[in-house]
């Protein structure tokens, strides 16, 4: 009985450890993609907006030395 309990506890701890590693990897990847990412469908509208501003002449390349 004791042996069986020990086995169950070991398996439980192993599952928890694997789950934690998977969670941590997932968390880090989400964080990485929060900071850096490819412009996807969600960004399409913003991309269009910025490009339209450039096309209309509302935005011109910044030529100053330092940021205002």
């Amino acid at each position: 009985m004791l042996e069986q309990t020990a086995d169950v506890v070991s398996v439980g701890i192993g599952v928890l450890a694997v789950g934690y590693v998977a969670y941590e990897i997932n968390r880090r990847q989400r964080k990485l993609h929060d900071i850096w990412d490819i412009l996807g469908e969600n960004d399409e509208e913003r991309t269009e907006l910025l490009e339209a501003m450039v096309a209309n002449g509302d935005l011109v390349p910044y030529t100053g030395g330092a940021l205002p």
């Binding site: 412009l39 450039v54 205002p68």
Partner: protein, 188 residues
């Protein structure tokens, strides 16, 4: 046949490429060499393929400080690339329109053209939410990585794909770190 030295319109030019042409400043266009990896492709070699947009609503943050302190370096290292700076008012308007972005600025977006034929035409790119990095060193490292990446991949035919690969590699690296050391250091 143009007689004034202007480039002829490419017949299959996508509309968004037209946008790029209108917005291209003459002095920057002239600074791009006439020869290079794109010689012979359907894209005129004198077009700037990249544009950088900076959205900064003005939060008093370490990321903003880093951006301001090092902006001259960004400009110097990316001389060929037009940098469009949305002022505070425009940035705030953008954040009002997209509230999800609040707290993520300064945002640096790169719009780049992809020359591979199997990719859909139009602009592609990537972005850096610098404002998510709360520590000065983290923000500085990210900005340096950003500038390095653009410098190294400037001539790439598909910079977006390069960034995708880079992110995949960073993800794998992070996974190995977690497995090997249980390292919970923050991601840059």
């Amino acid at each position: 046949m143009p007689t004034n030295g202007a480039e002829p319109e490419s017949p299959g030019l996508p509309p968004r490429r037209r946008i790029a042409r209108v917005g291209a400043p003459a002095e920057r266009v002239a600074s791009v060499p006439d020869s290079g990896p794109y010689k012979g492709s359907w894209l005129p070699p004198t077009q700037p393929r990249l544009r950088i947009f900076i959205v900064d609503s003005g939060w008093n943050s370490a990321a903003r400080e880093v951006l301001h302190d090092n902006f001259h370096l960004l400009r110097e290292l990316q001389r060929e690339t037009p940098i469009y700076l949305l002022g505070r008012d425009r940035s705030i308007e953008l954040l009002r329109r997209y509230p999800l972005l609040v707290g993520r600025d300064p945002i640096i977006r790169v719009h780049c053209e992809v020359l591979r034929h199997h990719r859909p035409p139009g602009f592609h790119g990537f972005r850096l939410h610098l404002g998510l990095l709360k520590e000065h060193d983290q923000a500085l490292t990210a900005l340096q990585k950003f500038i390095r990446f653009i410098g190294m991949h400037r001539d790439s035919q598909d910079m977006e794909m390069d960034m995708r690969k880079k992110l995949r590699m960073e993800g794998l690296k992070g996974a190995f770190e977690v497995i090997a050391h249980g390292d919970l250091h923050s991601v840059i």
